[in-house]
């Protein structure tokens, strides 16, 4: 399925155009609303929440297309990494939404339990679709290519282009850090991301209270680790771009 490979599109603006077209349904809802109406018309009998269920089905269709494009463009390994990140974000969000519905009913407003549940399933589908798409979008453009092309350029165009390339490079690097961190923690410090690995928690009636300090610690370790690894190579990147900016043939 080479024709689905976005990175094989040589011209950068054509690649950008294709990626933007692919993202339209996620941002605007079009043509998913039309697909939803079409699916509803196919159902020959009355169904409770037929509209919501049809909406979920149309998202499954769109999600399959996005996954196929991402898989064809980045290969199996990266695709699975993207999916892992998407499911971690999606599942935590959807599960936390359900916890909020139970624990703080006042935050539900006028929404019924059914409506919230369907909204959370929909949210999970949206996240597992859009996260791989967003990662494909960011990584479809090479900062290094932009820098190389700008080496012999002159004046403001060169400086502005280098600022843009540096910005893209740092954002791509930050995205990589998240995956590496997840992989390293999963292998070397599983207790930081999976509470079941905490062997020091004894099975007492108050054991579940350990979850709160654990979650607090996990969030803060994660923030600090992400920051350290994100900022670490920045001096090198800045030096390189500054040298190119001052480079004259």
């Amino acid at each position: 399925m080479k024709w689905l490979n976005i990175s094989s599109i040589g011209t950068w603006w054509l690649r950008l155009l294709v990626l933007l077209l692919l993202g339209i349904p996620a941002l605007s809802g079009w043509p998913l609303t039309e697909v939803t109406t079409g699916i509803q018309m196919l159902v020959p009998f009355e169904l409770d929440r037929a509209g919501d269920i049809s909406d979920l089905v149309s998202w499954v269709v769109y999600s399959s297309i996005i996954w196929l494009v991402v898989f064809s463009s980045v290969g199996i390994r990266k695709f699975l990494e993207y999916l892992a990140a998407a499911f971690i974000i999606g599942l935590t969000t959807a599960l936390l939404g359900s916890v909020v519905r139970k624990a703080f009913p006042i935050l539900s407003g006028t929404m019924s339990a059914d409506e919230i549940s369907l909204r959370m399933v929909n949210l999970l589908l949206i996240i597992v679709t859009v996260v791989p798409y967003a990662l494909l979008f960011i990584n479809s453009f090479s900062a290094k290519n932009i820098i190389t092309k700008l080496t012999d350029a002159k004046g403001k165009r060169k400086t502005i282009g280098l600022h843009f390339a540096l910005l893209l490079r740092v954002i791509q690097h930050a995205g990589e850090v998240i995956f590496n961190l997840l992989e390293i923690w999963a292998e070397e410090h599983p207790d930081k991301i999976f509470p079941r690995h905490r062997r020091d928690w004894r099975a007492k009636w108050y054991s579940s209270a350990n979850m709160f300090p654990w979650a607090w610690g996990a969030v803060f370790s994660w923030i600090y680790a992400t920051m350290i690894h994100t900022f670490e190579p920045i001096p090198g990147m800045v030096d390189e771009v500054e040298n190119i900016n001052h480079y004259r043939r």
Binding site: R101, G109, V130, A174, F231
Partner: protein, 181 residues
């Protein structure tokens, strides 16, 4: 008053890192608020940090871009509200913080909490008045009303306080960092 900072390649690199971190922090820890279909998150930590560390322009860019990228993933209807509210949050934090000397913790604290207040007021205005008004002509925006906006004041206040405290802590930890060393 501190000297206005010159925009260098190092500034661009830090802004890029903070945009990415703000987007990631907004996405990874988000607690949906069913009443408004919005969500609680900790992305403000990096918006406040950007304003305190790099000034109003960088604060506005990080606030306007980072959390907006996160909203595009799952909550696209909130993009206009987030872009303006968080952009303004970073700008206000940076503006107040730049009026004081580098080490003036008192003014930096006021700046950080002013940013938190901007989030509470900004989202309230959008959810109570602007979205219902736009919703009359574009149905996708008819997702909130004044009742839902009142319900969200509490989580937004907690989010503002967490953002201010986290941003201040990180600013203190990073104030000696120079990417050119």
């Amino acid at each position: 008053m501190s000297e206005p900072k010159k925009w260098t390649f190092a500034t661009t690199a830090i802004v890029g890192a903070l945009i990415a971190l703000a987007a990631i922090a907004t996405m990874v820890i988000r607690i949906p608020i069913p009443a408004t279909t919005g969500y609680f998150n900790i992305g403000d930590v990096f918006v406040v940090l950007a304003g305190l560390w790099l000034g109003p322009l960088a604060g506005a860019i990080v606030g306007g871009v980072g959390p907006t990228i996160a909203d595009a993933i799952g909550f696209p209807v909130f993009i206009p509200a987030t872009m303006l509210t968080k952009g303004l949050e970073g700008f206000i934090v940076g503006l107040i913080a730049s009026r004081a000397s580098e080490g003036n913790v008192k003014v930096k604290t006021i700046a950080a909490f002013a940013g938190g207040l901007t989030v509470v007021v900004g989202y309230f205005v959008f959810e109570a008045y602007i979205y219902p008004a736009i919703g009359k002509s574009i149905p996708a925006f008819a997702i909130t009303d004044i009742g839902a906006a009142i319900i969200e004041i509490m989580p937004n206040t907690i989010q503002g306080i967490v953002g201010a405290l986290g941003g201040l802590a990180l600013w203190k930890a990073l104030s000696g960092y120079n990417p050119r060393k």
